[in-house]
């Protein structure tokens, strides 16, 4: 049987292509987009291993081995930068997921349509606000002299932008505030797609609201949670530049808790115009993210094969 399949492989593929030509034609723009925007630039990764000379271009610039990677690891701040990047992302994934699921479930429990729509709009607005604007909103709260918190709540002069110990909490709060609306809508879309007969059956069995959430909603959300988490894990070596650079107003005294890989690379690029180093950093982030996604997916497939991505 297999032999027959192999023998007739090419004609079958050609027949298949011709038979579904409209579908393949429809797919063509998307494929071209992916090729041009996502695959062609991969060639640029060679920059990570070159001493880029603007007058020679990428191809003719001399190879420099792994020297572009050194600047990320030879600095005494390497541990701090990687700790910040991974630490914040871990907290963002954990709290972001819990918070977004909670909001999605609460939204689902609201029966009145109009308030539900209004809440959805309001929780989505922060996601649409530019991080520069967010930084000024944060400043309006945290300004030593005129800030809302100092003047209306604490009635003291805490200099927030000079005190690193507050910033892990502030950054986590700002990130959650900005992203929970968008994430919760993704979970909410899954929740409303759960078969309503399951809820009806649970009600017939005498399940209360908590039990329905625990035994029907959360299991129904499991595939989405796994997918979203795996996608987030793939970007765990990246950070939101605006959040870590703009919101703390690039205050020097906060560098120990606000410098992530992206912020460090940005400063280096601005300082030296050396695109090789930033390409090396991007390469490092991608490779680490790729390995982590593979590992996480492997773990998921060992535990529950159905819910693994691949």
């Amino acid at each position: 049987m297999n032999g027959t399949k192999k023998k007739g492989g090419s004609p079958r593929i050609a027949k298949n292509l011709w038979g579904h030509r409209e579908l393949y034609l429809m797919m063509l723009p998307g494929i071209l987009y992916l090729l041009i925007n996502n695959y062609l630039p991969i060639g640029g990764l060679s920059l990570a291993f070159k001493k880029y000379d603007y007058s020679k271009g990428i191809a003719s610039s001399p190879w420099s081995g792994l020297s572009n990677f050194k600047f990320l690891f030879s600095t005494k701040d390497a541990g701090m930068i990687i700790r910040n990047t991974l630490g914040y992302n871990f907290i963002f994934i954990l709290l972001g997921t819990v918070f977004a699921i909670a909001v999605a479930i609460i939204l689902n429990e609201i029966r009145a349509e109009l308030p539900k729509k209004i809440y959805q709009i309001f929780i989505l607005i922060p996601y649409l606000v530019s991080m520069v604007v967010v930084s000024y909103i944060a400043f309006a709260f945290l300004s030593t002299d005129n800030g809302f918190i100092n003047n209306s709540i604490l009635h003291s002069r805490v200099n927030w932008y000079m005190t690193p110990k507050y910033w892990p909490y502030i950054l986590v709060f700002v990130n959650l505030w900005k992203s929970f609306g968008y994430n919760s809508i993704i979970y909410y879309a899954t929740v409303i797609g759960i078969d309503s007969s399951l809820y009806e059956a649970a009600v017939v069995d005498g399940a209360n609201r908590w039990q329905r959430i625990w035994h029907v909603t959360l299991p129904g959300l499991k595939p989405t949670i796994i997918t979203m988490t795996l996608l987030a894990v793939g970007r765990i070596f990246y950070s939101d530049f605006g959040l870590f650079y703009q919101v703390p107003m690039n205050s020097g005294l906060l560098y120990d808790v606000t410098t992530t890989i992206d912020v460090y690379v940005y400063k280096s690029l601005i300082l030296l115009n050396d695109v090789g180093r930033s390409a090396a950093a991007g390469f490092f982030q991608s490779i680490c993210g790729f390995i982590l996604v593979l590992t996480a997916n492997l773990v998921v497939s060992k535990i529950d094969k159905e819910n693994a991505l691949f």
Binding site: K56, F71, T75, T144, N159, Y161, N250, K267
Partner: protein
């Protein structure tokens, strides 16, 4: 069948639409020696630049078009840029046989934009800044064309336009990479004060001549007006741009000397003049004279003083009186006499990208910008009668009803960004009749650091530079604004300097500097 045809046509349209956005970014028309303004306009639009639309330059036939990148310090409309570009091209066609494409980019994005444009052949001639020692980056990265030979065989008029100091400022390793803007260099430090409060409290501005006398006035103002800041940073979180300590030694960002005469390089945090300055600001900060949010400030000090939200800020000044720029202010006596650090001279230059497809034509344009008064006035002021007028006394002014706010071609307000301001007619509100002689006089008398001309090659020390700048940014402004006491953090700073290899590096700089000075 109809549905299939429609689906096929839709797909074809989508595919073509996708590919239409993937056009080449190179200035192909210019490469072919032709102008194609419509295409250029489209490219500029895609790049998010202020782009002139079509031009009459299509009549220019086979002439080569070279692009000219200029930062904007004032608003320019597309229509005005097009009109000026047409007029400039008519002049260039008649006198030089070339054409230009004006590319104006907002100042905040300028450096990033030219870095990107320099990776292709779309940029020919560009303005660039060297105030933070960027020249060494441009040269080390192979971004700027070596123009030494072209300059040496250029006209005497061009060569005689530049002093030895100016040529040194645009050179590295004995080779020239650009031409500095013709202007005065260096600066002096004064205090800009709110005029209303000065008059109200009977303060003699000339009595403020050092940090002690400034302190006395600040305490007086703070007592009378506790509702405003007595002193604010000059710009964002930087307390002052002008200081007794000197930076930029060897075009590095980490080597400082204690004062303009010194040749002993050290960390800024270990210079006596920095320590003395910060002891004042720290006391003033603790006594409530300096704005508490100084390190996260995003405003210009002069704007706050003008608006009455602050009493004073330190400010670097030159030949133009600051009162001219900042209404409702008055300047103090000079706190620091005119002096120039190594990165001051030629801190704005014009050069040619090493990827330019037409380096000869680019040099023709570059040299014309420094020697052709008609061309420079046209480029910087715009079209006479439309963007500016010449009064009976021969001075230039805005046309009636026009101001810096509504004039469509911003060059009149932003002449400092053009190559040779001294070629232009004097403006009606200028405090002098002859800028050239005043500028020459200033440049002759300004005190220049003996380290000027010394260059320390940093091309192999990128990792160190990144680590050092992070360290400096972490501590410099908090200490300079007085928010943090230098003595409280100096042990940590010294330990961090040690760990990044700062002291070995500073020794190398000192050795090379000593050798350079011995050879002078």
């Amino acid at each position: 069948m109809k549905r299939k045809i429609v689906a096929t046509l839709l797909c074809a349209a989508m595919t073509l639409g996708l590919l239409a956005g993937c056009g080449g970014s190179g200035d192909t028309a210019a490469s072919d020696g032709e102008t194609a303004p419509a295409q250029e306009s489209e490219e500029q639009e895609a790049a998010g630049e202020e782009a002139p639309a079509d031009t009459k330059a299509a009549d220019a036939g086979d002439m080569v078009t070279v692009s000219l990148y200029i930062p904007t310090l004032a608003p320019y409309t597309e229509e005005a840029i097009t009109e000026v570009q047409d007029a400039v091209n008519a002049h260039l066609a008649e006198n030089y046989g070339i054409q230009t494409k004006l590319v104006y980019i907002e100042m905040g994005n300028f450096e990033k934009s030219i870095n990107l444009a320099m990776t292709t052949d779309e940029l020919d001639v560009t303005c660039y800044f060297t105030g933070n020692g960027q020249l060494s980056n441009y040269v080390n990265n192979g971004q700027l064309l070596d123009i030494t030979d072209r300059f040496e065989s250029a006209s005497d008029e061009l060569k005689n336009s530049f002093t030895d100091a100016e040529i040194t400022s645009s050179s590295m390793g004995g080779r020239m990479y650009g031409l500095p803007r013709k202007y005065q260099f260096g600066g002096q430090e004064v205090v800009v004060m709110n005029q209303a409060i000065v008059e109200e409290l009977g303060i003699d501005p000339m009595s403020v001549k050092d940090m002690d006398s400034l302190g006395e006035v600040l305490y007086q103002v703070h007592e009378a007006h506790p509702e405003i800041y007595a002193l604010v940073p000059q710009s964002t979180n930087d307390m002052t741009w002008c200081s007794l300590w000197i930076g930029g030694i060897g075009l590095t960002s980490f080597a400082y000397t204690n004062d303009i005469d010194s040749t002993e390089v050290k960390s800024i945090f270990e210079t006596d003049s920095f320590r003395e300055f910060c002891s004042y600001t720290n006391k003033w900060y603790n006594d409530g004279l300096i704005m508490p949010d100084a390190i996260s400030n995003t405003q210009e000090g002069s704007s706050m003083v003008t608006a009455g939200a602050a009493f004073a800020c330190l400010h670097n000044a030159d030949i133009d009186p600051l009162e001219m720029f900042y209404p409702n202010t008055v300047s103090s006596a000079v706190l620091i006499e005119p002096r120039a650090i190594p990165t001051d001279i030629g801190n704005l230059q014009y050069g040619i990208s090493s990827n330019s497809a037409h380096p000869d034509e680019a040099f023709t344009l570059l040299s014309a910008l420094y020697t052709d008064a008609r061309l420079h006035t046209l480029l910087s002021f715009g079209i006479e009668g439309k963007h500016y007028v010449i009064n009976e006394d021969g001075r230039a002014a805005y046309p009636e009803g026009m101001t810096a706010e509504n004039e469509p071609y911003g060059g009149f307000a932003a002449t400092a960004t053009y190559p040779n301001y001294l070629l232009n007619p004097v403006k009606a509100d200028a405090p002098v009749d002859d800028y050239k002689s005043i500028v020459d006089e200033w440049n002759k008398n300004v005190k220049v650091s003996p380290t000027f001309g010394f260059f320390f090659d940093m091309s192999e020390y990128g990792d160190f530079i990144t680590a050092y700048k992070n360290l400096e940014e972490k501590y410099l402004h908090p200490i300079k604004t007085g928010s943090v006491a230098l003595d409280d953090v100096l042990p940590s700073i010294q330990s961090e300097l040690e760990s990044i290899g700062f002291y070995e590096m500073i020794k190398k700089v000192q050795t090379e500097l000593d050798a350079y000075l011995a050879g002078q």
